[in-house]
Structure formats: C-alpha cells, structure tokens
Symmetry: C2
Subunit: 457 residues, 2 copies
C-alpha cells in the first residue's frame, strides 16, 4: 500500500546532503592492513606519504577509528551543484522482467564528469588547494576520473596533469577533449616525459599502456615537481570515505519510505563506487544492527576478488608506490585487449578486500557480452544509457530479480548506477554489430601475475 | 533576504509535473498563418495532412483556440523518468562574472537523449502507437532529435527509421550508435533508398546533405509505407505545444520563491526549445498580466530571424512538404561548412515568427567562437558541459549579466540550457586548438536563398 506511494525518483532536499562522510573502517573489527613502505616493509607513516599525498588526505587515509569526518563547507557547496543524486525505483525494468522484486538504483551519472568520481575529485582538489599547492597529477584509464578531477581543479584554480593510458588516449579523443575543455593537460602514458615512462617504453616498445604504468608516471611527476601532489580516484581508503556520500544519500532516501534493501550490488574495479555505496549499510551489519547481502561485481576478464590472491602488492607497474594488502592479480597483470568494460585494475581496495576476506561480502564475475546485453535492455526500458562499468551491476541486479521471479520472493534490490556511457559508443557499436567476444584468463595466465607478487612475509 | 533561501537547484515534486500542455496560440491575437498546400495554395486540412502526420497530432497542429491540452497519462508516466528537470540558480556563474544580475537556467540535458527533444518525441511516439501504426520516420541533423525519438519508439515498441544528414552520420558515429542501441535504423541522407534522395544526388553528386534533404526523404518513406507516419522535432506548432512543459515547470519553480524573470533567453533553430520555454510567460504578456523581455538567439551563420524574410516557404529541400509562413533564409540555404554549432535550419517556427513579427520578442545573432568561449566559461564554473546549441543562449545570458554589472541593475535572467555537449567534442577540440573560425553570410549569399522562395501572394 505504502508501496504505491514510492515515486519513480526519490530526491532528497539540498539540505539533506550529508555533512559528514562515514568511515566504515571505524566499525571494522579486522581493520584493513596498513600500507607498507616497499623498502623497509614497515607501515607507511604520515611523513613517508607526505611527498606523495596532500597532508589532510593522508590523515584520512590512516584514520581507522573516527566513524564520521566533517565535510568542509566548500565541498558541501560544490556537492550542491549536482547532489543529492536521484535514487530511482526501476519500475520499468521490473515490469520488463515481470519480477516481484523491487529494484532501486542510485544514479551518479547526472553531472558532466558522467560518474561518481566527482565526489572524491572535488574533495581531493579542495585539500590540495587548502595546502597551498599549485597542482596535482593523476592517471586515468577510461577517462571518468580524469574528467572529474579536471572539473574539480578548474573550480579551485589548480593545475591538473593527467596521464591517460595510451590506448584510451587514442581511442577516446573526446574524453581527452572534455578534460582539455576544463583546462587540464593530458599526456598519453607511457610517455618519454618521465624516467619510469622511458624505462617501461624501453622494456615494452609497442605497449599501449596500463593504469599501473600511468600511476607510476603521475607519482613520479608529483614527487619531482615543486608544489604538486599525486591524487588517485579509487582503491585508497580516503576515496571510499568520500564516496560514502553515495550510500548515505541512498540510505536516507530509502528510509523516507521505510524501505530496507535485501541485496546491495555494485560494480568493482578499484572499489570506490562499491565501497561508497555499501559503507553505511555495512556499518549497520558490522555493528549487528541489520543484515544485508552485498555483491561486488567484477569482469570475468579481470577477476581480482573471485580469482585473485589476498596478498601485499604494488598498486602500480613501476613499483614505486607503497604496498597494499588486497585481493590482486599481480601488478603485472593486464586484461586482454578485447576487454571493453572498464574495471581493469589488477587489485582491489584494502578495505573491501578485508571485508570480502571476512565473509561480509560476496563477489561475482560476469562476462562482457552478457554485461552489454543487460546494458541495452536497461537503456531501452529505463532510458539511461549506462557506462559499461555500471552495467556489471545491472547484469547481476537483473539476474537476482529473475531469481525472484522463479521463487516468487519480493526481495528489494539496490544497485549503484555509477555513470553514463556516452563516451563508450565504440564498445556499444561492437556489441550492436555482434563483434564483441568474451575472454576469461586461464589459470596459467593468472599464475604469471601471481609470480610477480612481492615477497613480504 | 528571501534571496539567500533560494537553493542551487530548485526541484519540483513528481506530482508537480504539468498535466496539461499550454498552447500559446490560444492567447495570440494574430494567429500564426496556416500551412498551405503547395499545389493549391489553400490552407492544409486535416485530410490533406493525414497521410503525413498522426491524426491526433494534426488536431494539435491545427488547434489555435484551446489554451490547455491534457497530457495523456502514459506520457505523464514517461515524463516521470526524467522530469521535473532542475531549475538551477547560476550562483557560480554570477560570482565569476561579478554581476548583480540573478541568473537561472532550466536544464533539459539530464536524460539520455541529452536534450529537451525527448519532451516531444515521447508525445509523438505515443500518438503513433495509439493510432496503431507500425512505425515512424524522421530526420536528424546533430542527432539529438533522432536519439530522443529512438528512445521514445523503443519504449512504445515502434519501429523508427531515421534519416541522418550524411555529414553528421560520418562525423558523429557515436550518435548513430546511441540510436542503434535503442533499436532504430539509421540511413545517411541523401540516400538512394528514396526517389527524392536519388534526385538530389543526381543534381548534387558530392553533397553531404542537409536537414531539408533528410526531411524530404523521411516524408517520402512515411507516405509510401503502410502503417508509417512522419514526425518532426521542431518548427511545428505541436512540437512547441509539447515543449511547453519546460516553461510551465520553470515558471512553477520560480513562483515557489516569488521570483519573476525580467529577461528570458533561448537558443533558436526551428524554435522548439525557445517556444517551449517562453510559452507560459508569453501567455501572460499576451493577456496583459505581466511583461517580460524575450530574446531568441541564433547563429550569425544561419540568421533566419535577424536577416531572413517573413514569407511562405517550404520546410524541406525536396519541396514536398506544406508551405509555412515564417522567417526564412530560403529552403535552398545551407550554412557554411565551418558552422559547428547546430541550429542550422533555414526557417523558424510559424508561431515564433509571428510573435517576433509583432514585436513581442527580440532576436540576436551571435558568432560561434564567442559561443564556444561562453560554453567553456560556463562549463568551468557551473560544471555542466553544454551543447553548442544551448551555448548560444549562454552567450547572450552572460552578455546581459555583464550589462547589469555596468549599470548596477539587479535583473533576473532566465535561460534555457537545452542539452549537453558530450557528442560535440570535435567542435570543442577545434575551439581548444584555436582552429575555429566565424562565418557571416554576405547579403549576396542570402539573396540566393531568397531567390528560391515560392511565389505565394
């Protein structure tokens, strides 16, 4: 009965945008393992990290005890430009699937960056500005993070140097132009502008790059240029912290209508979106207040949670970054060239890795043709053209809803729709033309990556 | 004081989506001139139009007396997927301009079609479905209309045949793929699939097409295929009627905060967005209840209002459509190839043409480099990457705000932000690289178009 009163879109008021981020680590009994200094294998201190990251972001990175951290007013003001994001009841999808399940999605694509990445980009740019820096460096793959950071830097008048994975730089010239329009400089990676880039190019002359390479170059430039620091769009604890606005808003919107989700689903590359979406719900589960089923969805071609090892590893190919304990395929792992769907990082957020290791979260790997089938079905009934990354979550949400159809269960499903697919039409075209194929790495393929794992214990 | 309480975004509730469209013609003393049958030069009747358009849409096209027309429930339901659209107070732009003016914009780009076109597409698809048709045909230039119609047809299970201006088909493959993803067929125009296309190709072998050509082809297919009708995304009275939801929502949102705009600005190609935005405000002006200053903004390279003739003309190049009385550059006019900014139709909505002729609305022509400068400035402070078309309105809104800075006047400016520029990055790249130039047709250039005007009087 109350059911019928739930609107298609649930918007919160501007005044309901969270004023604090939620730090899920505070409620974790088993804390995520600390970053290690690769030279000494000792936990990284604030001083160790200071040449790389902004000071306040290091505090956030290392803080695993404070549950709530105030969002500075300037960031709250920027959030008002595009938040609260809508929570949408997928009435049209439910109807198309003929399922008794109730499906909701939190849509983070309604800003120019086209994805949730802006939530952390604006925070990181703010702290860089506050520290009096001139600019920041970063890497980007598909381009969503680079776009978001360019916008954020433009807003605060910071210089922004983006290293873009070469294959994306060439295949996605429009993403590059969006970043330039916001005033960023964009360099294809690996490049000859850095020592690590030159080294990688010498070893692999024809390489089209990887996220791991681009991270190495961005870190080198940040640590060798006065007034610059490096920022990262996923994986790190600080990023999950900022992204908690997604989950906090989603929870507040559902509570307005007394809705409690049974299953919460998110796509997982480095973990920024999934971590942000599930944080406040996971907090309740950790504190024993409520139970939820969480599902991380990753591509079968880059299956860090479902087939990776829980071990210390480098976050970058150049091996100049700290070691993180995470589910990883090895920093040398590069997904097959036929992989179109993003989420191609070899590792996974330490926080999410620990939660998964402790059995608090499930994971599922899906193949890309089935992901694009879900994307197209979703687009045709719900109207939004989803990013390939987001479509991993759509795939599993549809699968769970179809299970409900079989069993007759009226489960409530919430998933994160992280972004739009406007810049992914090359992949859609492949799918439309029937030219998309799947790829699942063999155990031997994966062993190569595992062989490169650093010896820590 | 109340001022400070105005949020960055004013959202209406789902329940505040208009349930009736407003028909501005009902309040016009001088009605727009009727469409004429080109063979007889007599006003087109319902029977004359029936082979081309859907029956109920013809009723709407010819109705200049009913002020309000009910929006069918199915269309209202679809509107809920992406409406109400936000009305945004441009606090960041005001600050960047250091102007006492208060600037608001109605943002229609927050749906997958990326523009306001969906408001009419869904209505036209609904009436086609209701009439039991199999499908519809249409033309598209930049692709916003074709995208919107593809979405709408997918929703109602209608076939959708799009003739896309050849130059756009080749330069905007991603737009084409979005349409295909929604299940439409897309043919580059002129094509050899129609008689009129063959004729045009014979006369102009190397032509890259024009909207006028594509309209001719789409009409031919509609009238020669059983169960099909032709639909159009602008110019027509019915389209302005559907687009009145933009103005109705904008007005309702402003009234929540007792705000009355002094100046209302919209870009104008065929007039769908401008007509929709200003309709309810114009109604008040026509009824003598309130006064507003309306400004239509068009490209200097396609200046139908500011330099065109108010005369009967064909809407298409193949001269198979009815004659419309409008400000026109002649159906043979094609904007220079260096023109990047959309809004390239040779004529203008009869309704808007009449209002302009009667001195109820102003018009201004702007050059494209200044339009892209405004687009970039807007993107960097407001965060939204605007479509080139929408940026014409931004240009004049900024100009008017800067005038206020000089005079110290605290005018309230409302403009329509019709869509996003994600598929226009080729043009942005040209601008970023300093390779964009302006073009203003000479009087002699325009005379060629005027020479082709039909002799009606």
């Amino acid at each position: 009965m109350a059911e019928n009163k739930i609107p298609y879109k649930i918007y919160l008021d501007e005044s309901e945008i969270p004023t604090q981020w939620y730090n899920v680590r505070a409620d974790m009994k088993n804390k995520p393992a600390p970053l290690l200094n690769p030279a000494t294998l000792k936990p990284m201190t604030h001083a160790d990290l200071a040449p790389v990251f902004c000071d306040e972001l290091i505090d956030q990175e290392l803080d695993d005890t404070d549950a709530y951290i105030d969002i500075p007013e300037e960031i709250q003001n920027f959030y008002k430009m595009y938040r609260p994001s809508p929570l949408i009841r997928a009435y049209f999808l439910e109807k198309a699937l003929d399922t008794p399940a109730k499906i909701y999605y939190k849509f983070e694509g309604n800003n120019t960056s086209g994805s949730h990445k802006l939530n952390s980009a604006i925070a990181q740019a703010y702290y860089a500005k506050k520290q009096g820096l001139k600019g920041v460096t970063t890497e980007t793959g598909a381009g969503q993070w680079g776009t978001a950071l360019s916008m954020a830097c433009s807003y605060f008048g910071l210089d922004c140097k983006v290293f873009m994975v070469k294959v994306s730089y060439e295949q996605k010239p429009f993403r590059r132009e969006v970043m330039r329009t916001y005033g960023a400089s964009v360099t294809p990676s690996p490049s000859t502008t850095t020592e690590v880039g030159k080294k990688i190019l010498e070893a692999h002359p024809g390489t089209t790059g990887s996220l791991g390479c681009a991270i190495s170059e961005a870190v080198e430039v940040a640590t060798h240029t006065d007034g610059y620091r490096y920022v990262l769009g996923s994986v790190l604890n600080q990023v999950l912290l900022h992204q908690s606005v997604i989950g906090l808003e989603a929870k507040a919107a559902l509570e307005k209508y007394d809705v409690k989700p049974d299953i919460i689903i998110g796509c997982a590359g480095g973990g920024s979106n999934l971590g942000g979406l599930i944080s406040p719900f996971m907090g309740e589960k950790l504190r024993g207040e409520n139970d939820y089923k969480f599902i991380a969805v990753e591509p079968a071609s880059c299956p860090s949670l479902t087939r990776g090892k829980f071990a210390y590893d480098f976050c970058d190919t150049g091996m100049i970054c700290p070691l993180a304990k995470m589910y990883t395929l090895g920093s040398g792992f590069i997904p097959s060239a036929n992989h179109a769907g993003g989420l191609r990082f070899h590792g996974m957020s330490s926080t999410l890795s620990q939660l998964y290791h402790d059995g608090l979260m499930e994971a599922r790997a899906v193949e890309q043709t089935s992901v694009f089938a879900a994307a197209e079905q979703f687009a045709r009934v719900e109207g939004i053209l989803p990013a390939p990354e987001s479509s991993h979550a759509i795939r599993v949400a549809i699968d769970e809803a179809l299970k409900c159809k079989e069993t007759g269960e009226e489960k409530t499903i919430l998933f994160g729709l992280t972004g739009t697919g406007y810049f992914d039409m090359v992949a859609y075209q492949k799918y439309n033309d029937g030219e998309m194929s799947d790829y699942i790495p063999t155990d031997a393929d994966l062993q190569q990556g595992f062989d490169g794992l650093p010896k820590v214990d």
